[in-house]
Amino acid sequence: MSVIAYIPNQEGIIKKAGFELASFAAALAEKMGLQAKAVVLGPMADEEMKKLGQYGIAKVMHDANESFGLLDNRATAKALATAAAEASVVVLAHNNEGKGVAPRLALRLQAGYVSAISGLPSSVEPFVVNKVVFTGKAIGHASINTDKKVVTLSFNSFGLHEKAVDATIEAFNSGCSASDFALSVQQTQKVTGKVLLSEAEIVVSGGRGMKSPDNWGAIEELANLLGAATACSRPVSDEGWRPHGEHVGQTGKIIAPNLYFAFGISGAIQHLGGVSGSKVIVAVNKDPEAPIFEAADYGIVGDALKVLPEFIEAVKELKKSH
């Protein structure tokens, strides 16, 4: 019996989300007295997979079939079901692939499923995990009453926990052949040179209080200095000032970075629903009554356009002094 983490394979690379899943699987396995394993699908070098050992993964099962790069959820679920025949718990990332695959896998394993959990189960028997519900307005204690369990883990909710073991890599045959892959990818557009919003530890976000799309230079400059991703509120993406992919909030992306800057964002309840998982929130808004200050840890009642250059200078100074 084991706890299995399905590690996202980003063109042969494991990113932070993958190591976080490994850390989580190792901790959960320890709590349940089981072995922690990982599954990697698609081409990846052994050295890369070995890195999972730093986070407590003893065994990596690998099917190098490059068709898994198609992200065909049906095929991936089939492969994981093969790998997880003996597993008690399978944990996936709460990214688009994980959201699409995990429920399918749960059905194949006849397992109960809970998405976007935010940490280790509070109880193993019965198996109870916490997850944010009603878009941040409550925490639900979800109880799974099947033998096998499938969960997805919210990014940045558990963190990295090193626990070095030697990971053995074992090729496995997932049983997926060409006929299992139904999707065909016509075209791929990459976003390059930017920190991805879904992976960012720091996010710098702007709202209507930024006045004009022409003022985004300062947001981008601060983000560059901090290695942060940029984001925006809904009105800003609706106005076409910024692309939809940057919209964070209840109907946009839901993020939980370590640090979230909100410039000129009033903090409508729908916006807060998308960012309330952030560890630290900094708000700058002219309106002292703006609800964003209720959610913020640090705030300035003032003009975002005046404060941004000050922040930029302060960060430059900090960088110099290091």
């Binding site: 429920p103 925490i139 991805l196 720091i202 900094v282």
Partner: protein, 247 residues
């Protein structure tokens, strides 16, 4: 092509969330119910394609699993422009029961749309589970949909970019923001026409839930915001480093 859109009946996003006394169930008193926002966007996009290309989409059906009080959201979907609706008369206990109730009635559709999550319990499972039960492919993170030369073409968001993807029908598309700009407001004419559009009520089968909520808590109260003035902006950055350890 025949299109099916799964419609979630969820509390309005402005709802103040309350629970019963022992915090084991959501208190629905006074709650205003709406179509799950992502489902509504999927419906909007399907209507746009249907109107823009004659014959591309033969019909749009909307469906849910729920009791009679959820019919208002289906009726709204009909008023917005869906052609017909069905409701399976069962409590949507968990995603599995919803998918299992739907599966026998979803075989005739070419494209099924489901929202990426529901804004109540923030699950995301009905669509993919239904696809698994029907043994059809599913595409996650769909932010664009069109019909080109009679074939369904999807745009999906992946880590680090986006892709144009095609799939043989039947196929399930898990929809997220971007697929349509804004949900439509039903017009009087639509509301009037919805009176006579078919809304079939289907008796449920016996299905056992696989998970449940043992209880709920409200999120812990947050410490008060530390306020700085515009002139102290640089000090705030120092506090982020020294005090919050966030830099």
């Amino acid at each position: 092509m025949k299109v099916l859109i799964l419609i979630g009946n969820v509390p309005d996003t402005n709802t103040k969330v309350k629970f019963n006394a022992d915090r084991t169930a959501f208190d629905t008193a006074g709650v205003q119910w709406i179509i799950n926002p992502w489902d509504e966007l999927a419906l909007t996009r399907a209507l746009e394609v249907k109107e823009a290309q004659a014959g591309a989409i033969e019909s749009i059906t909307v469906a849910n699993v729920g009791r009679v009080e959820t019919e208002a959201t289906l009726r709204k979907a009909l008023a917005i422009g869906a052609d017909k609706a069905f409701r399976i008369d069962a409590d949507p206990a968990d995603a599995y029961t919803v998918a299992a109730q739907l599966a026998p009635h979803c075989k005739e559709y070419d494209i099924i749309f489901a929202g990426v999550e529901a804004s109540d319990y923030n699950g995301n499972a009905v669509g993919p589970m239904l696809a698994e039960l029907l043994d059809i492919p599913s595409i996650a993170g769909v932010s664009g949909f069109n019909v080109e030369n009679g074939k369904a073409v999807f745009t999906r968001e992946i880590d680090g970019g986006s892709q144009t993807v095609t799939a043989p029908v039947p196929v399930m598309a898990i929809v997220q923001k971007g697929i349509a700009k804004e949900p439509r407001i039903p017009a009087m004419r639509g509301i009037m026409m919805a009176r006579t559009k078919p809304l079939q009520v289907i008796p449920p089968q016996a299905v056992d839930a696989r998970m449940k909520y043992a209880g709920f808590d409200l999120p812990p109260a947050k410490a008060a915001c530390k306020k700085f003035t515009e002139e102290q902006a640089r000090e705030l950055i120092h506090a982020l480093r020294d005090e919050a350890k966030a830099l």
